[in-house]
């Protein structure tokens, strides 16, 4: 109730104060107006920024007195765990920690919207471990101090086995809050039952002959990146003028009726059924979820490489158990079965060697599958592929608002 503008109150009260007699109704009305004015000017929402720096004392303070509880609630994306939950079962057997696993994350924006209110109030979100993609929302979580600082001394397997490119990423210096779950690529998926040419380029997503058969992603960073790739702009070095050019292209694509829908996760279903013929897609989804007719390519103009990260919400009830799982997943033998199913890039380089060995020992179909996996350019990309891949651009708070204002309305039809 602090920041009431005095001029405002004066404005509300002065003219009536000058009158000598008050009718009862006038007084009541005035009180009502003043009350409404008070209420209106009250309750600004407090800023919560400026907490992203983490010191060793913060780490100690957070973890002091926290103990293993023997249970863990894990929020993840669909398709990020074997259908029979093999990896979770192995973890439960080895550590005695009971895991409740929920596939509740579909898109970063809505997920952030869901957890923001309880986290800002310091309440539990019901999960101890969540998987967040590097990008706008992870950056906000970090800046708002929603994430527990990680005690790296409790993550020896991460220290030992993580690939160099997965350590100390630019979006989370020093792995202060996150360690990678896996990485993947945003490219194009197409259904070979309907598309009778080879898809190699983003320009084909803008081809009028696929009118009403193209799917794009609703996420403003994914969408914006593809607009920029089309124009030959490197998203990481882009400026506001580039964003506007890209947005104009994407609007044109939409207004010509080429885009059927802007998807979050459900493009998998749509491209398998043939509702859309070609669509923006995430590499591993295509490998593991869609029908065999669906193919995935990294377009020649470029694709986005992103990392999904394990992090602990500050209000977690079982943070020690979450940390235990994070480190357990960095034992190469524990991680391999996961990679075999989800088909994204594992953060542990020795996975490839283990897969090759497994392939050498296996026979028949299994050998074929494992060999395909161990040599898949999507899971172990070549240098040439990596050169074409770009990260999301890191945005400052001011840039982020500009960026969202430019790209966000496109998927909403404005």
């Amino acid at each position: 109730m602090s920041n009431i503008d005095p001029a405002f109150l004066r404005g509300l009260t002065r003219p009536r104060m000058a009158r000598s007699t008050f009718a009862r109704r006038d007084v009541l009305r005035m009180m009502g107006a003043a009350g409404a004015g008070l209420a209106l000017s009250a309750c600004g929402v407090q800023g919560q920024g400026g907490k992203e720096k983490v010191s060793q004392t913060d780490v100690q303070k957070y973890w002091a007195g926290k103990v293993k509880n023997g249970r863990l609630n894990w929020a993840n994306w669909p398709g990020y765990m074997q259908d029979d939950r093999e990896t979770i079962k192995a973890f439960e057997k080895e550590t005695g920690i009971k895991v409740t696993y929920k596939e509740v994350i579909q898109e970063m924006g809505p997920w952030f919207g869901k957890i923001q209110a309880p986290l800002s109030a310091g309440q539990s979100i019901g999960f101890d471990l969540m998987i967040m993609t590097n990008g706008i929302q992870l950056e906000q979580c970090r800046q708002l101090g929603y994430l527990a600082p990680l005690d790296l001394s409790k993550l020896p397997n991460f220290q030992k086995n993580a690939g160099e490119s997965f350590k100390n990423p630019s979006y989370d210096p020093g792995n202060a809050h996150t360690i990678p779950y896996e990485s993947g690529v945003t490219g194009i998926a197409y259904n070979t039952k309907y598309v009778d040419e080879e898809i190699t380029s983003i320009a084909q997503l803008f081809d009028a002959k696929y009118k009403g058969k193209v799917g794009m992603m609703g996420d403003s960073q994914e969408l914006g990146n593809f607009g920029m790739f089309l124009l030959g702009i490197d998203p990481e070095k882009s400026t506001k003028a580039d964003w506007e050019k890209a947005a104009a292209k994407l609007r044109e694509q939409r207004d010509k009726g080429i885009v059927r829908k802007y998807y979050s996760q459900d493009y998998v279903d749509a491209v398998s059924k043939g509702d859309v013929w070609l669509t923006m897609a995430w590499s591993g989804d295509v490998y593991s979820l869609t029908s065999p007719d669906v193919k995935f390519v990294v377009p020649k103009e470029g694709g986005t490489i992103w990392t999904d990260n394990m992090c602990i919400p500050k209000t977690a009830e079982n943070p020690v158990d979450a940390l235990t799982l994070m480190d357990w997943l960095y034992v190469p033998e524990n991680n391999v079965p996961l990679t075999e199913f989800i088909n994204y890039m594992p953060p542990i380089p020795s996975t490839q060697e283990i897969l090759k060995q497994k392939a050498a020992q296996a026979t028949g179909d299994e050998k074929k599958d494992l060999t395909r996996l161990a040599t898949s350019p999507l899971i172990f990309p070549s240098e040439a592929d990596l050169a074409r891949l770009r990260h999301y651009r890191r945005l400052t708070q001011a840039e982020e608002q500009e960026y969202q204002k430019i790209f966000e309305p496109i998927a909403k039809g404005s």
Binding site: N3, D5, F8, A36, A39, L40, S41, A42, C43, G44, V45, Q46, G47, Q48, G49, G109, P110, F112, G113, K114, Q116, Q140, Q143, L144, K211, G212, K213, R254, G257, V259, R260, K261, Y262, K273, G274, D275, Q397, Q401, Q404, E408, P409, I410, A411, K412, G413, S414
Partner: protein, 286 residues
């Protein structure tokens, strides 16, 4: 003393509902109005600046979504009347002793979750689904589709809000005294005349209530547009939802909500004035 308590009784009786409304309607409303005039962002916080521009920006950016929502609301309401009136009429006059069974049958699908029913429409309308699959390429052109278009959204809206139209119309028809209709026939009215001059006017209050109960929620719905619509079918409800939950743009979301509320209130008020219960009763009295 006794008189004093007698005077207080009505106030005591409205106290529970009054407190309820104050706690869960009035206070949030005031907070939302306040929020709609603030500026800022999540990281730095929001401050009250009496930024009326939020409203103008909202109408400016999303005016077409407002118009589309009202248009979809209008179409769905008209479709609801067209479907619900004959059904309610048949149940009320021809339902016999099974009336409540028929009403139950109409309500039965609505025991299933709203989202699930909408997703079911998606499965039915999909390009290679049970309906369009065989038709496309034979009777219909190959690129014909319903899912992700306005047709799908309006169909979904009509389906989801149909009972809110059936029930009030049924209640109005059910209350008509059969002797009034008999009197019309005794006075040599034809069946058409008896319907247009007796039954229809007497049932109009039900239609009026049904229109309010469907048009308002349909215009602000966002689930159907989200599940069944494409990029050209976004309704204002979707915009508010995104602004609030995805972008944490609370002031803009609040400003849009109040604009929508104002538009709906004005619309309903105008509707009540031109076709209000007063006139309906007069027509019935004639």
């Amino acid at each position: 003393m006794a008189r004093g308590r007698g005077r207080l009784t009505p106030y005591l009786m409205i106290l529970p509902s009054g407190l309820w409304m104050a706690a869960f309607f009035l206070i949030p409303m005031v907070l939302m109005v306040s929020l709609s005039l603030q500026t800022g962002n999540l990281i730095d916080g929001f401050r009250q600046t009496f930024h009326w521009q939020n409203y103008l920006d909202g109408i400016d950016t999303y005016g077409d979504k407002f118009i589309r929502s009202l248009w979809y609301g209008f179409l769905s309401t008209v479709l609801c009347i067209a479907i619900a009136y004959p059904a309610a009429y048949w149940i009320a006059f021809r339902g016999g002793r099974h009336k409540s069974t028929y009403l139950f049958l109409i309500l039965l699908p609505y025991f299933v979750s709203f989202i699930l029913r909408t997703v079911a429409w998606k499965l039915v309308l999909t390009d290679n689904g049970p309906i369009l699959g065989p038709l496309r390429g034979t009777i219909l052109p190959n690129d014909f589709h319903i899912l992700d278009t306005g047709v799908a959204v309006v169909s979904g809206l009509t389906y989801n809000f149909l009972p809110f139209m059936v029930l009030p119309i049924y209640v109005a028809l059910e209350r008509i005294d059969p002797r009034v209709v008999e009197a019309a026939y005794d006075l040599y009215a034809s069946r058409v005349q008896a319907f247009t001059r007796v039954i229809l006017p007497l049932s109009l209050p039900g239609v009026f209530a049904g229109v309010i109960m469907t048009f308002v929620p349909v215009s602000s719905d966002y689930v159907n547009a989200e599940v069944l619509g494409g990029p050209q079918n976004t309704m204002i409800g979707n915009v508010i939802q995104t602004e609030y939950f995805n972008n944490s743009a609370y002031p803009m979301a609040s400003a849009l909500s109040f604009s929508l509320m104002a538009i709906l209130l004005v619309g309903i008020f105008a509707y009540a004035r031109t076709l209000g219960t007063q006139d309906v009763l007069e027509a019935a009295g004639r």
